[in-house]
Structures are given as C-alpha cells and as structure tokens.
C-alpha cells in the first residue's frame, strides 16, 4: 500500500524518534560549530515526545495525529528549531484536514504548508542558510511529483534526493539568522545544522513508505 494512513502514522513517528536518537551526537557536533550545540538534544527530545503523544491517541484522524505531534514537540523542545518543527507539523496538519490517508498529493500539500509555516514563523527566506533551504526543494519537488501523478514511494525518494542536494548547497551560503548569524562569513563551507534535520525527516519518511 503506497499511502500513509491513520493506522500506520504512529509507526512513522516511532521511526522519526529512532532516527533522531541515532543522529543525536552527529547533530550536536554539527551545531556546535556555529550554534549552541543543543540541536541534537532538542530534536531527540521533541520527537520522542511526539511519538509518545501520538501513540497515546485512540483512533485519531491523520490531522489530529500530526497536530498532536506538533504541540508535543513545542512543549518538549522549546528551542528555536523545536518551535519551528512544531509549527511545521501544526501547519502541515491543517493542510491535510479531513484526509483519510496521505498520498503524493496530500503530502505535497503537507510539505508546502510545513515550509510556509516555518518560513513565516522564523521570518526567513530561501538562501538565508536555514532549514527552509531544504524544506523549499522538498515542497517544490512534491508538487511536481503530485502533478505528474507519481506514486508516493517514488515521489518521496525524489524529494529526498533534491533535499540532499540542497543540503550540500547550504555549505556555500552565509548564515543570516540565529546564533550562527554572529559568525557570518565563518559559516561558509559548513553544512547547515537545521537543514540537516529536514533531510533526516524526508529520508525517514521515504524509507518508511518504501517498507509499507
């Protein structure tokens, strides 16, 4: 089955929290170069809380599960990145209101709302060396895949490929926001830590759907 449903969505969140637990130290190391080293910790904490909150729900809709995850991340991970991820899930949940399942079309809507919510809340634009630099190609790729009628597995893997490419390209950018902005030119050559989080998310989602 090439769809995410309300039944298997809690398993996707389990995957998210497993992956962020695995990547915790790598993210801490990346963030310590120009940030305050708390990214790995807050993501691991945030997604663990999201998983717990979603699995505690009973027979909840796709929208409710995604929104609950967002609220749980906001509470458990009160850093800037935690709040931005929370915003992404909350806005994404609103975009798939009343959807029984998430296919390519619905997930395109989800990622567009996710990207727009993060950009708006963080007041950032593409090119500012933030997570939006990866969320943007994910959203745009998903729209194109939806238009061409691609199956979800294929669409997510292509979105993951574009996200990886965009992540690599963040090395050439100069940070404009957050603590990294104080380092400005020194951030050139360093992969953006926030963008890495978005790549982890889309990869985990693509891998999860492949195994369905």
């Amino acid at each position: 089955m090439d769809n995410i449903t309300k039944t298997n969505l809690p398993i996707l969140f389990e995957r998210f929290s497993e992956v962020f637990a695995e990547q915790k130290d790598a993210l801490i190391a990346l963030d310590s170069k120009v940030g305050d080293s708390d990214l790995g910790l807050t993501m691991a904490k945030g997604f663990a809380a999201a998983t717990a909150a979603v699995s505690a729900l009973e027979d909840a809709s796709v929208e409710t599960q995604l929104k609950t995850a967002g609220v749980a991340i906001a509470r458990a991970a009160p850093s800037t990145m935690g709040t931005l991820m929370a915003t992404g899930f909350m806005r994404g949940s609103a975009a798939v209101k009343d959807c029984e399942m998430l296919g390519t079309v619905q997930l395109a809507d989800f990622w567009v709302a996710f990207r727009d919510g993060v950009a708006q809340r963080g007041r950032v634009q593409v090119g500012d060396k933030t997570v939006v630099d990866v969320l943007h190609p994910i959203a745009e790729t998903m729209i194109k895949q939806a238009e061409s009628g691609a199956a979800l597995t294929e669409a997510l893997h292509i979105a993951y490929a574009s996200a990886s490419e965009a992540l690599e390209a963040t090395k050439d950018l100069v940070a404009q926001h957050g603590k990294a902005a104080a380092f400005q030119e020194k951030t050139r050559g360093i992969q953006d830590a926030g963008s890495t989080v978005a790549v982890i998310l889309i990869k985990a989602m693509a891998d999860f759907v492949s195994e369905l």
Partner: protein, 333 residues
Amino acid sequence: MKKFLNNPENFVDEMLEGIYLAHPEVTNVANDLRCFVRTEPVKGKVGLVTGGGSGHLPLFLGYVGDNMLDGAGVGGVFQSPSSEQILEVTKYVDQGAGVLYLYGNYSGDLINFDMAGELADFDGIKTATVVGCDDVASSVVGEEHKRRGVAGIFFLYKAAGAAAAQMKSLDEVARIAEKASVRTRTIGVALSPCIVPEIGKPSFNIGEDEMEIGMGIHGENGITRKKMAAADDVVDEMMALILAEQSYETESDVAVLINGLGATPLEELYVIYRRTAQVLKQAGANIRHVFIGEFATSMEMAGASISVLKLDDELEPLIAAGANTPFFKHIKF
C-alpha cells in the same frame, strides 16, 4: 569575574526566588518559577504579557503590577522564554478579554510568542501582538520593523497598561501600544561589556578609553566605536540620531527616559539628562514627563540610553497615570 553567584546555572531561578520572597503581589504558575504573574488578576481586563531573556532587570518582569503588565515569561540570561511558558502565563492572565503580547523585537522571542499565540488560540484565548522596535541604531528609516526593542518599551508598557486598566478592548489596547511604539525612539551608548554568568567572561571587548554608540543591550554591534568624549558631546551625537527621525516643532509634548545599563551611576544619568533637556528644548520640544534610572539594563554593562516618546492627547494621560509594580512606582500628579 567578580559576581554574587552560587552555581551560575541557578542564577535566574535564585533571582526569581528572591523576587517572590520580597514581593507577594507577584507569583508563579504551572509549577515553573519562570511563569511570572500578578497574584490577583483583574476580572474582565485585557491581559498584558511580556517576556524575554533575564539580565535586564527591571525589564521585563519588573513591570508586572497595577496599571502595567499582568505576566511575563522569564528566559535564561539573554535567552527567550519557551512558548510553553508563555502559554501558561497567557492562560492564567486571560480574564475573558484576551491577551496582548508586548515584547522586544528579537527573533527567539518572536518565534516563541507567535507559537504561544497559536497554542492559546487552540484553547480559545484571543491574543494580539505589538513589539517594541525603538533602537534607531539597529536599522535604517523605512526598515523600522527590523529594529531591536530596548528601553523605550517602558513607554509601551506604561501606555498599554494604563489603557487596559481603563477596561479598553484588546483591539484598543493593541492600537495604543502600537501608536506608542511608532512614536518612540531610543539610542544607547556602551562603555564596558557585560558578563553572562554561565559564560563567565565578557561578551565583547572595548578599550578603556572607548565608547560604542548604538550598541544593543546584549552587546550587538552599534553604529560607531570611538574615543570617549565629554558627556555633552556624547549626548549631542546621540540626540542627533533621534532628531534626524522625529521633529519636535514648537510645543511638541514629549516624555523622556534616561536609562542606565547597569554600571553607570545615577549622577551621570542626570548629567546626561541635563544636556538631553537642553537639546530637546532647543528643538522645540515641551518635556512633559521625565523618567531617570535603571529601566532596561544589560547586567553590569556601563552606559546609558536616551528614549523619547512624542506624545499626543491620547498618550499623555496614559503616561501620566499612576502605576505600582515591584520595580516601578509612579504617583499620578
């Protein structure tokens, strides 16, 4: 570093414990010392909530009290409070008339207050937001929305707080706060750096004989760094930046705030005020209200800021209104 500290990690919470012990009219909610509220909220009144990093007392929590604010989210030193803490304060402060978020224009605070507002909306609480962006040194004319919020936010608290106490609606209180924001200008000067307790060393270096005009209250870069000069010359240079943006044609009523950044004696603030008053009068301003002291500090930074609010008939009585908070008492005259 020579500071009165126990474990630096406990600095903020121990400060809060001291404040709660000294001032029973304020307390905390949600079993979190950093969710700071008035002990007795006023039924039916618009709630005013502020917040931001610690290290700026009396800002932010110091203005929670009668005729001013109702609650504050308290962050670590120079760090934003979390959206969850702001939400908890919001829930307590809401007395049915909605809540106005009033805080300084910093990215961490913007993100967390916006998030708290979205979460409050799920709980059926209406919120509105006005940010202080009064620091003329932090962005050019036309890009005022990018400016940092500094000591001038005091005028926003005063005006919005008095308006809310008159039981005006959320929209009205927000409009008045926004008006005070648009009409307030601040310029600061720093003479020495500050030390964040958990870091333990100065956040920047500045020469013994140097000053930096326009430096932010967390040590953000200012406009110029130069040799220290005579007090009147420093004030003239600072006031020129404000006068370039606001005209005080004959008989413009203004309120003036001379703010110490933490290590500058009150005596020197009055030396600064003396020249500021001369410059303002020469520019045609009629000084109606004067506030001098520490209103928004930066730990032990030496330096000062000058804020000017251009009054109108609506704002003047709100600035004149009485207020009673742990850190600010004002008798209406």
